[in-house]
């Protein structure tokens, strides 16, 4: 992605407030700097919040109702509150098994992406060698190929040639490979920005390249590494297509489990809501903890 992309200006801007938001007014200095929201702004905010959170809250509450309650009054509240749906999901071994698979696959994906990505970005950022730019270009071109394009051969290669079908590694390795382009693109400028003096001082002190990498490059690339790690984790946690083709039975991840449960017991609406709500909790907690990183990463991706 090209383009100059303005650097984000730290701090908040205060655009003019539109007293009556959309009404053009001819008087000079009709509006002072924005201090709060006009009623229209609050109304829009409220609508947006209701539209955004409505389905999530409805699903969470729906899990506390019975199917009879849901059928009788779809828009009602739990009356009485029923814990049984949630208890049933929490007592089911497959739910925990799916959660474990999702977690392990996401962790393997993240570790491989970050470690291999940092290692590859290091010489691509700081060495001078003839094949540097062509090598970088190879990774960048990977951005053009979504996993969907290669999904059928990927399935054949992983199951028949590598015999990694229905394993954690069989899903994690290709996910890491497809995450590498964006990882290297984000990390390279980070590593380029490390001052030469640090490296030179380390060389004078007799450090090897590998020591420099571990002692200087890895610690200094922290923020970038966390960002790419979080992006890789979220992508893996939410992935559907590759796990759908590769994983069966006990090896399924949460998205597969949710989709299965929904199609097998689609008439058990309350059960579906309980299962889905429990499945979204880890993602939401992780998101709240890592919010800034995710947002920065996405904004970084857009700013090119």
């Amino acid at each position: 992605m090209s383009g100059p992309m303005t650097m984000p200006v730290p701090g908040t801007s205060s655009p003019p407030d539109g007293g009556g938001a959309f009404r053009p007014s001819r008087r000079p200095r009709a509006s002072g700097p924005a201090q709060g929201g006009s009623p229209l702004v609050w109304f829009v905010a409220l609508v947006v919040v209701a539209f955004t959170l409505g389905p999530v809250v409805y699903a969470a509450l729906g899990g506390f109702r019975t199917n009879a309650q849901l059928a009788e009054s779809p828009a009602g509240l739990p009356n009485p509150w029923v814990l049984e749906n949630y208890q049933r999901v929490l007592a089911s071994p497959s739910f925990w098994r799916y959660a474990l698979n999702s977690t392990v696959i996401a962790l393997i994906t993240t570790v491989i992406t970050v470690v291999f990505g940092l290692m590859a970005a290091y010489p691509l950022a700081r060495y001078r060698f003839r094949w540097r730019e062509p090598l970088y270009l190879v990774f960048v071109l990977g951005l053009l190929f979504p996993a969907t394009v290669a999904i059928i051969p990927l399935f054949v290669i992983i199951t028949r040639q590598l015999h990694l079908g229905n394993t954690w590694w069989g899903v994690a390795l290709p996910q890491a490979a497809f995450a590498l382009p964006v990882t290297i693109i984000i990390l390279r400028p980070f590593l380029m920005a490390i001052p030469n003096e640090l490296e030179e001082a380390a060389v004078i002190d007799g450090a090897s390249r590998i020591q420099i990498f571990w002692r200087i490059v890895v610690p200094l690339s922290g923020p970038g590494a966390v960002t790419v790690g979080v992006l890789a984790f979220v992508a893996s946690w939410n992935a559907y297509l590759l796990p759908l083709l590769l994983l069966q039975g006990d090896m399924k991840t949460l998205p597969l489990g949710v989709a299965d449960f929904s199609s097998q017991y689609s008439s058990d609406t309350a059960g579906v809501f309980a299962f889905t709500t429990l499945a979204m909790i880890p993602a939401l907690v992780f998101f709240l903890a890592m919010q800034r990183r995710i947002v920065n990463g996405l904004q970084g991706a857009v700013k090119g």
Binding site: S31, P74, A120, A150, P153, V156, F178
Partner: protein
């Protein structure tokens, strides 16, 4: 030196070649054979798979659906997202919380979002039906997802629920880059709020909007998860996408040749659109930046 480079780049390059480059090469190869996934690759058919994909009504429909989603995203999500971002871009209490809330659907997987909406949209006892009924609107008899004429738009509606927050968040971030001085100067000159947005803020937000458009377009072309959960491409192929077409051909009918030909076509479509977008839309950013630099000097 060479060995050191190999040491550092080797692991990444290895998995990249095995899991990205090699499957793509194989996709090109498979697409030239009639192959059901078993036995050796012997039945070479040239470009016949491509011909049969491109003349297949279901695939043409799927391509059309992808394009409808691309166009609708830009026509609907861009103005709505921009309007919300412009209205919310002010100091107000709870703004941080608001941003967090807006972003929640983006963090959920398409599967979870799809499963929840599937229940909400159930024809008889779904809550959408009930709420619309309360204001006197009755949905189609077969349900919003079960009626061929409206199913694709329903899918688009759910996609908008999931991705609007990303647009708003990115636009808000872009708005932070608009210098206060410009806005203040315009205000002093007597510009109204609406004039300021139209003449200054939105043009300066151009690069962010155009890049968002690019990401949105690429995502819409690869659309799979949400459709698979909500409709499986039905009813009567009303919501198939190129990706659901190739997955159905590959994993249900074992037509690996057809499926990989479709995936190569999907890639070609994405590439052509990306290049056209680069040429006609993103190029302006580079040109403007150059002009801006010259002016500064």
């Amino acid at each position: 030196m060479g060995l050191e480079v190999l040491f550092f780049v080797g692991p990444a390059l290895t998995i990249f070649v095995i899991f990205v480059v090699w499957p793509i090469v194989r996709a090109l190869q498979f697409s030239l054979y009639r192959w059901k996934g078993f036995g050796p690759l012997v039945d070479f058919v040239g470009l016949q798979n491509y011909v049969s994909v491109l003349t297949n009504d279901v695939f043409i429909g799927a391509f059309t659906h992808n394009m409808v989603i691309v166009v609708l995203s830009i026509l609907v999500q861009l103005p709505v997202g921009l309007a919300i971002a412009l209205l919310l871009n002010r100091k107000m209490r709870g703004q941080g919380l608001l941003r967090t809330i807006i972003f929640v659907p983006y963090v959920l997987s398409e599967v979870i979002a799809g499963v929840v909406w599937f229940q909400l949209l159930q024809p008889q006892y779904g809550v959408v039906e009930t709420l619309l009924g309360a204001v006197g609107i009755s949905g189609p008899e077969q349900g919003w997802l079960g009626t061929p004429d409206v199913a694709l738009y329903t899918v688009f509606f759910v996609l908008t629920w999931k991705y609007l927050g990303l647009a708003v968040l990115l636009f808000l971030a872009g708005l932070q880059g608009v210098p206060d001085e410009l806005l203040e100067a315009a205000q002093i000159d007597g510009a109204s709020w609406w004039q300021v947005q139209r003449r200054i803020t939105v043009p300066l937000l151009g690069p962010t909007l155009r890049t968002w458009g690019f990401l949105s377009m690429i995502g819409a072309i690869q659309l799979f998860d949400m459709v698979w959960i909500l409709t499986r491409g039905g009813p009567a192929n009303a919501t198939t996408t190129m990706a659901t077409f190739l997955i159905t051909e590959g994993t249900k009918r074992y037509n690996y040749g057809i499926a990989t030909a479709a995936s190569v076509i999907l890639f070609a479509v994405a590439l052509v659109l990306a290049l056209l977008y680069q040429f006609f839309v993103l190029r302006r950013d580079v040109a403007e930046a150059d002009a801006g630099m010259r002016r500064v000097r």
